[in-house]
């Protein structure tokens, strides 16, 4: 197990390195932040001073070495636009995104697994068909459009929920959270549902497909032949088997939820990292984009590692059998 974790860690380090090189090279080669950052009316002297200050006059490899060196020390440069450390800027926005993403996952799992089980056990029933049609829609609808419709319906027309922002927050561990206040919760509902929609459809599909497959297995029939109640057959024998793929995929999807929060945050003006990324891209704020990317890559790596561990806890064949093929 320890070897397994160490090997995974080494792999992850390589991925992080490769990504940082790619990102840096890409941004250096194509974007030109000077044009954006320095006003066209500035004279030559001001330009040169700014370039020297930002290190943009050095050759590419030197800039990169400088970048890696300071990155290891936690310094990913200073935002061109905000004038504060980029990493700090990203991290400061991180809790808002994490809160949104976790709430969305919660919605997806809490609704998706029961719905998927139902649709899988009774695929030909009306409810089963409605659930599946709903999940096809959930896959098809672009997130941003659904978000707009949600605002249209619940904020503009009905006026039940706020259209954007985080609302009132309360502090926990020195970080502001929306879910701790009633006002914050009302602000959280629409974006969380919006972000959850795609994953909800995914969970429904996975749970349904898993249920249909598992329900035909001999061990389910054997469980029924033992005289077990349907609640136990479904709730233990089937559920535990379909949880393996669902948890795996969901864990891996947490990263993509965080990435997709870019869209939801833009629609709902949710002040998370995603919105920061879009603003920074539009303003060619290179250090912030890089900081966002590296934080996200790191996040993905950690998430994948955790998923692998949880997976092995759920499936005794892996937990006890040692390695995987």
């Amino acid at each position: 197990m320890l070897v397994f974790i160490l090997r995974r860690l080494a792999q992850s380090a390589v991925v992080v390195m490769a990504m940082s090189v790619l990102v840096f090279a890409g941004i250096f080669a194509i974007g030109n932040p000077i044009d954006v950052l320095i006003s066209p009316e500035a004279d030559e002297f001001e330009r040169a001073a700014a370039i020297a200050r930002l290190g943009l006059d050095k050759p590419m490899h030197e800039q990169f070495i400088r970048f890696v060196d300071s990155a290891l020390g936690g310094d990913l440069g200073t935002s061109f636009v905000h004038g504060v450390p980029a990493l700090g800027l990203v991290l400061q926005r991180f809790p808002a995104t994490l809160e949104l993403a976790l709430c969305a996952m919660l919605v997806a799992v809490v609704l998706g697994i029961p719905l998927g089980l139902w649709a899988g056990l009774k695929p030909d029933s009306l409810a089963g068909r409605v659930i599946m049609t709903g999940s096809i829609l959930g896959f098809s609808l672009p997130t941003f459009w659904v978000g707009m419709m949600l605002i249209m319906a619940f904020a503009v027309t009905l006026g039940w929920l706020p259209a954007g922002g985080r609302g009132e927050t309360a502090s926990l561990f020195g970080v502001p959270w929306s879910f701790l206040t009633a006002d914050g919760l009302t602000h959280l509902i629409l974006p969380a549902v919006n972000l959850a929609l795609f994953k909800l459809s995914l969970v429904i599909r996975l749970a349904r497909a898993g249920t249909r497959e598992v329900a035909l297995q001999d061990y389910v029939k054997f469980a029924r032949a033992k005289g077990l109640a349907p609640s136990r057959v479904v709730g233990v024998h089937i559920l535990k088997n379909i949880m393996i793929p669902v948890v795996t995929v969901l864990g891996l999807e947490l990263g993509s939820v965080i990435a997709f929060s870019v869209v939801t945050e833009s629609v709902f003006a949710w002040p998370g990292m995603g919105k920061l990324l879009i603003d920074s891209i539009l303003q060619l704020d290179r250090p912030v984009v890089i900081a966002y990317l590296l934080v996200t890559v790191l996040l993905f790596v950690v998430i994948n590692l955790i998923v692998d561990l949880v997976y092995s806890l759920l499936d005794p064949r892996i937990r006890l059998g040692g390695g995987r093929a």
Binding site: I30, M148, F260, I278
Partner: protein
């Protein structure tokens, strides 16, 4: 035994059989019909809509922000209303559809070509090449498409061609993985061994023997990916990093109508959104059915 085998059903080409299986689902047929209409409308855009929405000479600023069904100064009715420049929304949507479909289909085709080439090569070469390519694919697929596309567009800038490049770059890995999977299975079968024994050129074995047998899953993935590409393009344009204002796609139309939507002028945003939705659902319905029909394992 042989006498029983001889009683096989009457000769039927695979295509006919597929078509018949496909037609058994009425929802899928409806999806196909809608899709055909959409594609026709997009192809014949210039002839099916009342005005060319990007010919400024045809626009009348006095007609701006008219509600659906209003009578315009030109004497015709704007069935879906007009936008802030007096543009007929119906015309704008059909033209937007054109851009969206163009981007989605071309990006998918490019990605398909690249993915198939890489995947087939990996599967056929095996060993080191395979390991390296698939590691690359794994890493790319572990990052969400939208993130990669965003970053690429942040680097490349705006433009229809750039969006196509970004979408193709995002998608190729799916095809590479899909075709490699089936090619690895096919490769072990006797007919490939037979072809190799005949000392046929590698290229010929790959293209004429391996590829056709790996097509079904690829067709399914490609169909669904067109819908994904269209949705992704719309999202990117909505975020402001996609197509330029001069050649708006559906996503762009939705985004530019957003501000009016909150003040109650819903039609500028709603109708392009519905058009997008119908397009994507139609493609997905067709794709879903294709998967069921092409995957004998799921047929019971």
């Amino acid at each position: 035994m042989s006498t029983v085998m001889a009683k096989a059903p009457a000769v039927e080409t695979p295509f006919l059989r597929l078509a018949r299986d496909f037609a058994r689902s009425r929802t899928a047929l409806a999806g196909l019909a809608v899709l055909v209409l959409i594609v026709l409308a997009a192809l014949l855009a210039r002839w099916v809509v009342p005005q060319d929405p990007y010919d400024l000479a045809q626009l009348d600023i006095l007609d701006s922000m008219l509600a659906p069904g209003s009578l315009g100064g030109g004497g015709w009715t704007y069935w879906l209303g007009t936008d802030d420049q007096g543009r007929d929304m119906l015309s704008a949507i059909v033209f937007g559809l054109r851009t969206s479909l163009l981007v989605g289909v071309v990006a998918t085709l490019i990605a398909l070509a690249v993915g198939v080439a890489v995947g087939l090569l990996a599967a056929y070469a095996g060993d080191r090449v395979d390991g390296l390519v698939m590691r690359l694919v794994d890493i790319q697929l572990s990052f969400p498409a939208i993130l990669i596309a965003l970053i690429l567009l942040a680097l490349l800038g705006k433009g229809v061609d750039k969006v196509i490049v970004a979408l193709a770059a995002v998608q190729w890995a799916y095809y590479a993985r899909t075709i490699r999977g089936s090619a690895l299975v096919e490769r072990r079968k006797e007919y490939i061994e037979a072809a190799q024994c005949l000392a046929l050129p590698h290229g010929r074995i790959m293209m004429r023997h391996l590829l056709p047998n790996c097509l079904p899953p690829l067709i399914v993935v490609a169909t669904v990916q067109v819908a994904h590409a269209i949705a992704l393009e719309a999202t990117l344009s909505f975020l402001g990093v996609g197509v330029p204002v001069t050649q708006p796609s559906l996503g762009m139309l939705i985004a530019s109508g957003y501000q009016y939507m909150l003040s109650g002028d819903y039609w500028v945003s709603l109708f392009p959104g519905l058009a997008l939705l119908v397009t994507i659902v139609a493609i997905n319905l067709v794709g879903d059915r294709l998967r069921d029909v092409l995957n004998p394992r799921l047929n019971h």
